[in-house]
Assembly symmetry: C2
Homo-oligomer: 406 residues x 2
């Protein structure tokens, strides 16, 4: 189950200097594509943002270290096992996987970044993975995006990708990316897993800043079930092969690139929400005219996490009282109930401290019957606005998460 038509592009534009190779290691399910190696050409910049969960998984710890120690040449990802909560043994296992890639490709250990996703707390089957490394390496190709999108899936029901091009000064810049994730989704500075590459040339410092900004308007604004994963990682590679240099001095190109990158990341993030576990609705929650950014964001997230709001969304029930009850419990100081407005789509459902006089159940029902729903709360106390994206809470969410390990 997923919301709306598939959003994976017909054409994933290759990024010169960036190759992807996918193989089956049988980590959890024999024959399933579950190992992806990505090769970054020499001279590339690589940026990453990672989970803020204190129990960040062994591969996340190693990624952070390796990024400071060497120029990255390879990213290796397995699904089926998160290698999280696995202590010192998990750390050694992730290093073993990096070693296998370094040996196979002839690069330094620190030039390899490891990623894992899947069940938490079980030992990584290192040998299965290292055995499949040569096959993934052999498969490396610049047109490997579709296979890789499949190779990083866990409970996802759809592959997720986005690809964009724009022209500047007679040259074409390409941005292409893939993501995965469906549950344990409330990214904090990153998403489950996302990889994007561009052929623009961008120095590492600027690339990190661009990635952080893009994550803050995409992956850091989505939630399926409020749980931040131990393995969230979001990577951005700039190969420089287009011959265009993005820098703050070249203002027009910078703005253009930044806007295209944000759009790419939002598409990848929204694809995760649309494929949220058990999702039947894609819900945009906007809080307008708040007194502060944090007030807007916490109000939006509290609505997005309310089981009562989420089950009403699942039932297509315009039960606006539940939205109002959440706004009331957020803890906004000196909230003026009379000034508050709540909209479902274009329909105003709350004003003057109660049900809007012009509201009809039919109008609310018409909005709720759709697959894509906008909930907009107008606090009328300031100039700050935030938007988050989420899903409903369905029987399938319970089934998927009650059965996942069995």
């Amino acid at each position: 189950m997923a919301v709306g038509p598939a959003t994976f592009p017909d054409k994933m534009h290759p990024v010169a200097g960036f190759k992807l190779g996918t193989a089956s290691a049988g980590v959890k399910t024999p024959g399933r594509k579950d190992l992806v190696i990505m090769e970054v050409c020499e001279g590339s910049s690589v940026a990453g943002v990672f989970t803020k969960n204190a129990f960040c998984a062994a591969p996340v710890q190693i990624c952070k270290q390796h990024l400071t120690q060497a120029a990255t040449r390879y990213l290796v990802t397995n699904t089926g096992n998160a290698n999280a909560g696995t202590g010192d043994e998990g750390y050694a296992d992730a290093i073993s996987v990096c070693e296998a890639v370094a040996k196979e490709t002839g690069c330094d250990l620190a030039a390899v970044l490891p990623f894992s996703t899947g069940v938490i707390g079980e030992k990584l089957p290192v040998e299965k993975i290292t055995t499949a490394v040569p096959a993934a390496n052999l498969a490396l190709t610049e047109t490997g995006w579709d296979d890789a999108a499949e190779g990083i899936m866990t409970t996802d029901t759809r592959i997720k990708g986005s690809s964009r091009q724009f022209k500047y000064a007679g040259k074409t810049v390409t941005l292409t990316g893939i993501s995965k994730g469906a549950g344990m989704i409330k990214p904090n500075m990153a998403t489950m897993l996302a990889y994007a590459a561009t052929d623009a040339q961008i120095d590492s410092e600027l690339l990190n800043q661009l990635l952080t900004d893009a994550a803050n308007c995409s992956f850091n604004r989505i939630t399926v079930d409020s749980d931040t994963s131990t393995n969230d990682s979001c990577m951005l590679v700039a190969t420089g092969k287009s011959g265009l240099v993005v820098s703050k001095e070249e203002h027009e190109l910078y703005e253009l690139f930044s806007s295209e990158l944000n759009a790419l990341m939002q598409q990848l993030a929204h694809a995760i929400v649309r494929d949220g576990e058990g999702a039947t609705k894609f819900v945009t929650i906007t809080v307008d005219s708040a007194a502060s950014q944090s007030e807007a964001l916490s109000t939006a997230y509290d609505i997005a996490h309310s089981p009562l709001v989420k089950t009403a969304l699942f039932a297509s029930d315009p039960n606006w009282g539940r939205i109002l009850a959440v706004v009331g419990r957020v803890g906004i100081e000196e909230l003026n109930l009379g000034a508050l407005e709540i909209f479902l789509g274009d329909v105003r459902i709350v004003s003057q401290g109660g049900r809007d006089p012009g509201y009809t159940e039919e109008a609310g029902q018409a909005v709720m019957d759709k697959e894509e729903i906008l909930i907009r709360v107008v606090l009328n106390r300031g100039s700050f606005s935030e938007t988050v994206w989420t899903t409903d809470l369905s029987h399938d969410y319970v089934s998927i998460n009650a059965d996942y390990r069995s």
Copy 2:
């Protein structure tokens, strides 16, 4: 569905000076007991704690006002309609109900406290209620607890009550109470609805303090679904008819009474969790040796609210990685992963930053198969401890809340 055997006592000891009368007003369902009047004898003290939701319902607003204006003589409760989010009209409607009770009983308007529970945002059917007031008034009796426990139910599947007696200086003190609530349960300074009475004599100021303390170790430590209701109210009446005066000067009696009151309120609060919407598990979550009270409490609540932990509980799946992931995302500063321990019942599942070396899946499974489960997190960073009680997240929770208004 509810967890464990019914906990309603065989014998609800009457409290001298406190009567309850129940009738059918047909607010939502014809013939259902949905109107309860309680009569407080002259000279009683009455204390209340109420929801902190900014959208507190009209009856809650009036309760707070009336408590400051007159000695309370009557409490009137309807179910089937919360009279919340109803603006000025809702306020006038609640006053109309109070007026009907005042007229029927010959007391002042401000001596009547109104309570409503049920669906939010729909107009209160005042005439149905006022028409049934004489019947409820005629039914007033000191043995009316059982009927009243039924009369305040909404989605509850069980009546909830507790009754205790203790002797002091040759006299018997009685404490008896009822509660209701199953969904939209994360009380903040009070519960959905709870009413308790004692025949001890206690001045209003002390009664308020005793009630606040009792709520903080009972109703303010339970959560079903993290949503704080607009109508939570918890009332405590002291009629004084036992002839015993509880005061801080009489230290031994004070401690005895306080301990009995806390036990009563915990039983009423636990009854709400056991009857939580769709609940199949009764879960105690204790966080020990935290650096502060708020750190212990927020960690416990975050575990209690995690949909992934709750669905694992529903599946009786010892998926300890999900608990560990929550502890990691709470945001505890400088958390020492190596010192952390997590227990399921008596079984240590996490130590030294990963799965406990002695842990076996069988041992974890044996704990999770039970209906009553203890999750204990030991942070080993200070001396503060907190306990909250919650439920699992089941298919029935989704069904109940997706169907509630239809």
